[in-house]
Symmetry: D2
Subunit: 300 residues, 4 copies
């Protein structure tokens, strides 16, 4: 049994903390919204992040953006940073999806204090958080990664080690930028086929087993009626929301700026998603609804 | 045993005709270049396309572009069209990769004469042609498709029926446009990761089993040293040449123009390939060399 | 006084022919639609294109696409070409906007028969055609250009000599592709400013006299209320229709394909226009309505 | 005569401060690099930014990025902010080109202390700084703008008032994003013409007086030999460097992210510039060298 502190108890963090408690761990929780603490079955509510971070073996955070993670661990004008107030033996796991520069800055600050820390952004959505089937992509030292595995395996089904501090964020961002390209490209190819008389299901079957095969086409077809159980076949109800994809694409743009990398397709996909979002008020729809931009008549 | 006429005996057509002869069929061949006729083992050289098209059960063509296919079958100022001089019982198989409008025009002209015709563009390259492992994507009537299968199965390993006349061309064009997007997008995501400190092999492994998985990443990695046996690991020697990918992308643009379809990602991929081609003199390199545009230091 | 034949009497050709007649020339007209012949004040209706092309000093054509121009001058299965039936002394002026390859083919065929011919696509719209204020961009020999000037100056206000056969088409296509980029880019920059709190009129004034100055911004502002008398200030009623801009952009794509040129911005602009067109049913609106794609609330 | 504090004495700030001193003002200067202080003719070197900001009527800053401007005026862990230590009567002029969010944050903090402040990013380059012919685009209250004019008019030739705090940054960013599009688009249109046989000078003349006319074409032609005195005619020696254009395009991307705006053409132009930069090692060349991406043989 491990003593775990957990802060950030939203749609993702709440069920993740509950799964840790259900596995028999002692879980001290904190969130700025008191009701969220009460909703974590088995959690022990704390009065501050600092309280949740003390006398624990492992500390987990799940926050919205880089500025929150920096503020929490490194401090700001309102508060000193947690890292300077933690036991050096604490293993720190940040599950937030944030810019790699922030993840690196916090990870390196932890390292200089002798604290093992990993960045471990997740994929798998709220269903994955509830069912404990998330995927974690981890940046940090091999030792920190090994220490974290038993805890991550309670919350998730797959864990990858991408490299040193910040590498988890980089790998997730690269993957999701590629996913946006795959989804837009698949919608584009299917629309071109349909506009020229093909049945989208027949074309999908052909491309799946040809060199056009990809995750979006193979398991998440964006055309209604081609595949059962996907958002496209239930009115594009999410799923993975357009707003969340745009958050990840914006992180990709920031990451590319920081490293002076060219991302013409990722940049175009981001703009197509923004045009789609503002034209069709699509922020809360599944990201496969990008098909509407190519075939407006798919919109009911 | 079937009597087959075959015209167009280049890198692809030559071995395809030879495979038909090796399977025991009578194969009458014609090409404007006499040496190419001599090189088809077991082929019977003819003095004209017309001679090759007479007294045969099946007639196969493998030509460079739509204008040649139109000229051959529908005629032009130099010659009358073959369709009007063939027995109506002949099954016509055009294996050329051409614009769908030409394929439809020729297919419909055949239909009006009571001739079964399919468009059956191939993928699999010269190795597939030699080994009889090509993939055919077929447009035409179900009956014509059924009649063609025994002949196609000698030359290839996979056969798909995409729809009516021209549908084979449309499906191949859609697939290859998507492939260009997958390859460019994969090179782009890997470059972004590498620019931010990741190992391309590690990042590839993670994305392959995540939502970034796609044909280019999974079996044709564009970064040198990640995967054995692919062009990237032998100096980008082809493979599938940049010039051929651009031919298919140009067909995609023509097809999109004809149907007033939006193809922003396919259009951008085409322009990235052209910038790559003219900057790096890359027309005769494998199409995975697009990685050079993102990471110039991959170029030796 | 000159004897002139004129075929193609639509929204553009009709008023152009009438202006020639009004200037005192003898104008023999032909169109497949008889009513259009009747509507040309002062025109002499003919029973065929051939009749209109005989016994004239100058022959003018205004047709929709390259295939029509090729068919008319070079012939097809339905008819022999006009060039072979004309007096060699006739000056031929093709005012159609078509692909440069067709223009070159026809121009060179004329040259081989000793006939002076120019391609002279126009800009200025139906108002320019009616008022005789069109702009002609001319391809052809200096001598043919000089011979044509007196006739062109009746129909237009500006005449440019771009080069040899086909050069008029190339220059017009390059200009209009650039115009599409200017208009989209201007709408994009203004939208970015407005989204960040700026007044579009103030921002326009600043950019006009700065390095952002361009024709679209300076005389054809795409934001409603910034400039009087432009389509944006009257509900985007044309003006220069989205459908016509897309025709010219498609010609640009064909031209770039023929010369293996990279046109990433022109290609993207074309796709943005197509997304706009199909999303907003905007084909018959002025091309400055592309602003809707950036700011959906500009749409009433 | 006015007492002026000035910090940031690089290639731009140094000559600007010297011009103020030459006009008879008392100019107290500070830079972290002591030699730069010595190089400002007539400047009075200070030992800190704070010293330069005290007992002056006007305070001017010229710094590289938003974080520096925030740090200087609002403070950070190293130092308290200048705003809290200045006389409320001081007029603050920040000439840095930075993200609008930082400019707004600093401008609003000044306002809450009763300090008049403007953001006044410049264009015109080092030559403009030396000759006092810069253009200032100003954000801030009308009153602050009026107070600043006499000082700005010493350093520059043109001053525009774009709106409230941050509006100067927004307007400059919009203008320069549009400029990148104009320059790339012009190089693209000229290359398409040249690839199809046109003379770039002839095509330029035609488009300048047609609807393709724009600042890049009209006064800064990117093709060598077309126009005298521009970077293209002296090996693309700057001029306005590719690296500086990319800095401004990155600010445009950040601004678009903050306001959820679509900038497909600006985003693509940014990526084309990055491909050009890394392929041709072009960061220190004038930004019109983007023509190399379209016509590699323009590179010597």
């Amino acid at each position: 049994m491990t003593a775990i502190g957990f802060i950030g108890l939203g749609n993702m963090g709440g069920p993740m903390a509950a799964n840790l408690a259900a596995a028999g761990h002692t879980v001290k929780v904190f969130d700025l919204v008191p009701d969220l603490m009460a909703s974590v079955a088995g959690g022990i509510a704390c009065s501050s992040a600092l309280q949740a971070a003390q006398d624990v073996d492992v500390f987990v955070s799940m926050l919205p953006a880089g500025q929150h993670v920096r503020g929490l661990y490194l401090g700001n004008e309102q508060q000193p940073g947690l890292l300077s107030q933690m036991a050096a033996s604490t293993l720190v796991i940040d599950c937030s999806t944030i810019d790699p520069a922030s993840a690196r800055a916090v990870g390196e600050a932890a390292g200089s204090l002798g604290i093992d820390m990993i960045d471990a952004p997740v994929s798998g959505g709220t269903a994955g958080a509830q069912n404990g089937t998330l995927t974690f992509i981890v940046g940090g030292s091999p030792n920190a990664f090994d220490r974290a595995e038993p805890v991550l395996s309670v919350m998730g089904a797959n864990t990858f080690h991408a490299g040193g501090a910040g590498a988890g964020q980089v790998a997730k961002i690269c993957n999701n930028m590629l996913l946006a390209i795959l989804m837009s490209g698949t919608a584009e190819a299917l629309s071109l086929g349909v506009d020229n008389g093909l049945d989208p299901a027949v074309l999908s079957e052909i491309m799946k087993v040809s060199s056009g095969g990809n995750w979006a086409l193979n398991v998440y077809n964006p055309f209604p009626g081609v595949m059962e159980g996907v958002p496209a076949s239930r009115g594009y109800e999410g799923g993975f929301l357009v707003d969340l994809m745009r958050k990840d694409l914006n992180l990709a743009l920031q990451t590319a700026q920081a490293s002076d990398s060219a991302i013409p397709l990722g940049g175009l996909a981001n703009n197509l998603y923004q045009v789609h979002r503002q034209t069709h008020d699509a922020g809360r729809l599944d990201f496969s609804s990008i098909a509407w931009l190519y075939k407006p008549d798919l919109k009911k």
